[in-house]
Symmetry: none
Subunit: 242 residues, 2 copies
Amino acid sequence: MKQTPFAFEKALKNQTKKEILADKLIEMILTGLLRDGDELPSERELAQLFEVSRETVRGGLALLTGYGLLNVSHGSKSRVCASEAVIDSFRNHPARQQGDELNNLDIESVFESRIVVESAIARRAARHIDEAGLKKLDALLEAQSQHFDSPVNFQLSDQNFHHVIAEYSRNEILIRYADELYTYALNIRRQVMAEHGSIKRSYEEHVRIVEALRAGDPDAAERAMLSHIDSVYYTTRDKMPH
Amino acid sequence: MKQTPFAFEKALKNQTKKEILADKLIEMILTGLLRDGDELPSERELAQLFEVSRETVRGGLALLTGYGLLNVSHGSKSRVCASEAVIDSFRNHPARQQGDELNNLDIESVFESRIVVESAIARRAARHIDEAGLKKLDALLEAQSQHFDSPVNFQLSDQNFHHVIAEYSRNEILIRYADELYTYALNIRRQVMAEHGSIKRSYEEHVRIVEALRAGDPDAAERAMLSHIDSVYYTTRDKMPH
DNA sequence: CTCCACTGGTATATATTTCATACCAGCATA
DNA sequence: TATGCTGGTATGAAATATATACCAGTGGAG
């Protein structure tokens, strides 16, 4: 009796050439090599450059057009049409090869994941932190305390702060995940950071995190980090349109 | 207006499904999951497992046969035919440029991260799992119980098992991280899966995970998952050359 | 031993992707 | 306006992948 309930999610997936081409062009747009308004080479030229047929090029360009990244007009060359908003939505969702473009990482998933990763990092950092690390964090706290009125500077320091702690988890994968999730969250809450009160509160929470790390107390570090992420989450969520 | 010093130079290459399948099987041979003389699942079975047509499977197997890695005979199952000499010539020479980025990640970081992510997933899955999910997991357990002597089948089912649970975390990011970490871990522990005892133990641990999920008990699910990952970790570590 | 369920081997038809080669229609400019 | 670009379209061919059959060799259960 050999039936097969093997519905395999991890099936063999074949990427077509037009998809590969579309991805390459998207990458060029994301990296700024191609900017809004830039002319693309002609379809015949692209076909030669990528060593594919013109029909394949047209297929790839059609995908880009569908994503709203390209403007094609009969008779003239195609132009990149990439507003900051569209670019951001692409930058945040690299797993975009499927048709469900605008679907994406909802705010809850991002912060839920941040809690998981940052908590684990805080525990490990409390065990591995050393004097040099604490000194770095103190310096960052000092910088943050002087930037309550400068959201841009505070954000840069904030990112650095979390990255330094992540480094003391001594786990490259967790560091990478934390950086990635920070970026996701940042793109969601850009507007929120402009608020005065939220910056000061973040600073105070940072202070508590450093205290726990200095004490070498994993439980306290995890609690402080969790409380911080939670606070950022709720502030962000309340500010969202929905 | 003359511009276009464009950086398009690379031709784009399309990998066919049979090539992908052949690469997967070669990888299994190189890592010792498939050894000289081992039977391969039947063509029809492989077609279902990889969700491709039987003709595509035959194409992939034909490539392996051409490389001298496989012995197909009318009426019987195909057998791996891989002398040490042939394996070595494959391990060194061919265009196997891919897997190198994983080698930088040490085994401890991978499993530490897996524990973090899979524990979180288990907790969430216990809250969100439904009858359909439990049915899927039961079917996978049933399949696994019949594949104690078939590392290939068991591994494929094992991957599916973890993926289904991850899906019930209802968090796309955690799902992506879990899949990625599974792949990392798999590349490290392929040899271990060939051991008879480790397969049966994995199965029993899977059963306990499903029990906890069925009970809807997040704590128990986390404990069961953590114990499972731990077990895989220790087995893998003890098998490593170092 | 025979039988038959399994195995690989084969044939057919169809859909998709990619390609090459045309020709048509819109745009810019000399 | 006329010429040479541009994108838009149509056709046929090849390669790939799928689905559905049926044929032929193997090996184990009865």
